[in-house]
Symmetry: none
Subunit: 216 residues, 4 copies
DNA sequence: GATGAATGAGTGTTCATTCAT
DNA sequence: TATGAATGAACACTCATTCAT
């Protein structure tokens, strides 16, 4: 199941119209935006890093902000695609009989995704607070579409008696929180620490399972 | 117990040497930095908002970065003080016999703190990725000092048989994650949504308690 | 023998890569630096005088100091070239049998040079005290290379019995001093006075010749 | 006859109204102006070096330029005084029977003066090109008054048959040139070189004497 | 007399963007 | 399509100077 999980490569592959220079611009921009932030990165710096003339950037993107959006927007779609389409489908088709299996599959999948797209994710997280359009896009795509699907899923597992009977959106929130809490600590706050990934993932899953178990 | 929980007021109170203008500069800077980010905020904008001449800013802070640090650094100290000193003391003195009581007290305390210092917290969170010095300060003060104390606490409750026997730092990570996950969702991602705070806090506490319960 | 003796024109000719605007910037900078001094000249003033945008200056010269160096450095080379190469050669090839002939030729040559490059020379003289790099360059190129050649020349004429037998470097110092003393009085201190150049030059030469004559 | 030859001390002595702070300001200004030039020296820098508040400078000198003038102007007077009054008198009273004696006395006197007042002299030389008022003062006091006296002296020695019969002002120019050429080389251009002062002075005197000798 | 906070015009420099080539 | 010279507004920061204390 070697899914294409690098947004960048996916982007470059699909859009054949991208020139070599354009690809270099995108890669340079991602590197700089992710390290220094959008506002602190100059277009001339991107041009230099990409090995193109300053003017070339503006041939492809009318403004600097367009460049940011050209990088971040496709990511939004990619970010939600798996949830929306594939995984939900699998669950409904009884692929994941137990919530725990689903949880485990999802964590593995999203960790792989994070690893492959770290700089892009960083940009998204860092820039959302400063760009209302991004915030809006994010809310629409993630906070609503994805959240909705997960609420449906939560209700599915609740009906099966696997999850405690509290509001489904709280279930989702706490699940997300625990998973992303781990990912953030692991990859953003202390990436250089010595992590036993397997064990931490298992502990996190157990924590969620106990926390939401219907047995109690 | 009306503790002084606004960093700003605390700052203004303690340091009597602060001019009226200096206070205005700090307030204006906090507002702008928090809304648009440090890099995207110009000193002239801060001056205008503060109602002072641009030169006045540089009389008090040698550089724009100094201004940022002058705002963020005191916060670091304030941020950890309660954990480090008061709460730990209370726990040791049997004020919180049960982990659940401690959890509830801490959440209430930190929610109040967050409400009173939102813009400052935003700045801290938003700027940490771009300023290595900040990152270092944060790691030193928060990630080490605070984390350490909590690990000690976790071990305390583990010995009392209230918490499951897994590595204490994993206990702390998951507790933090659940609490801050709620706070971030509540105050940063969806502040305008209609939250039933009491209920969500209780659910979060129950989630953590079940997740870490030793009974299982 | 209409040698190209204007540094500026030489510069513009050789370096074909110079834009029209760049030439204007250089000319404006020379004018202002020479009149008001480097430190008291603003880049905006230069831009205005050159009829370009202020940013244009910094496209060609990274800093204001770079602009100064870009103007002054080529002059150093030009300043010493004739001494180092041509004239010494001529002397050795018996072109100037007598010290007096050499002296006369040199004065004429350097006076023409001075006239053609007055503003540049002014900048050099005025700025050397404030810029250690300039001072270093000057010492290396002029005070050492040129001085050395002249010492050799002085020894040559001493051997021929035309010059008194005192340390050669003292001979050079006093010759230089007398010549530049005239040039400074003539062109820098009292340029507006009514000078009989031919006569003064002749007097100066006679003064030096008598002062250094071996006859006594 | 240990004449008071330090302008600064003379200034501080005469003008009793100078406060301690004022003296410190003057000393700090001299140091900075001489090293970095008037234009490149900031008043705040002077204040810091002098250990006074920024405003204090402007209590005593209305503008920064006033400060420069307050330093440089008294020097002008001091610079010419000895020539104008004392030395001329001595010559007329047959103190210096021979031009050579006069020359030797003058060089010794002026070298002592230079050594005691180097920073002030540097300021004068460096700033004259940029300040028309200074230039004017200089011309009036030095170039005219002093020059005039010397012309008279030159004519005196010419009449006595000790100096060649060329225009007296040329005599003066060449004498000045040779003396100041030595002083400039000695104290400004190569102060760190290893000079045999006695010998160089003697050589310079001999050079002038031969150069202007009437014998030839 | 002395202070130092305050000023706002001015500094050198960077910026995103344009456009003729 | 790609270039890079050119722009001028904006930037962070400095300056000489003022003035209430």
């Amino acid at each position: 199941m070697p899914e294409q999980d690098s947004i960048l490569e996916g982007l470059f592959q699909e859009e054949e119209r991208l020139t070599e220079k354009q690809k270099k611009i995108i890669m340079a921009a991602i590197e700089s935006f992710s390290e220094k932030g959008y506002a602190a990165t100059s277009t001339s710096e991107i041009a230099k890093k990409a090995g193109v003339a300053e003017g070339t950037i503006f041939r492809h993107y009318k403004t600097k902000k367009d460049l940011l959006m050209g990088i971040v927007s496709p990511m939004m779609a990619k970010l939600i695609a798996p949830f929306v389409i594939k995984d939900l489908y699998k669950v409904i088709n009884h692929k994941y009989e137990h919530f725990e299996d689903f949880l485990r599959a999802m964590m593995e999948n999203r960790i792989a995704f994070l690893k492959n797209n770290m700089p892009l994710i960083r940009i998204l997280i860092q820039e959302i607070p400063f760009h209302p359009e991004l915030k809006e896009q994010f809310k629409e795509h993630i906070a609503i579409k994805v959240f909705e699907r997960f609420v449906t899923l939560a209700e599915y597992y609740q009906k099966k008696g696997q999850i405690i009977d509290i509001p489904a959106y709280s279930v989702v929130r706490m699940t997300f929180t625990s998973i992303f809490g781990f990912l953030i600590a692991r990859y953003l706050i202390l990436p250089e620490a010595d992590w036993d990934d397997k064990k931490e993932i298992e502990l996190t899953i157990q924590f969620i399972m106990h926390g939401l178990s219907a047995k109690d």
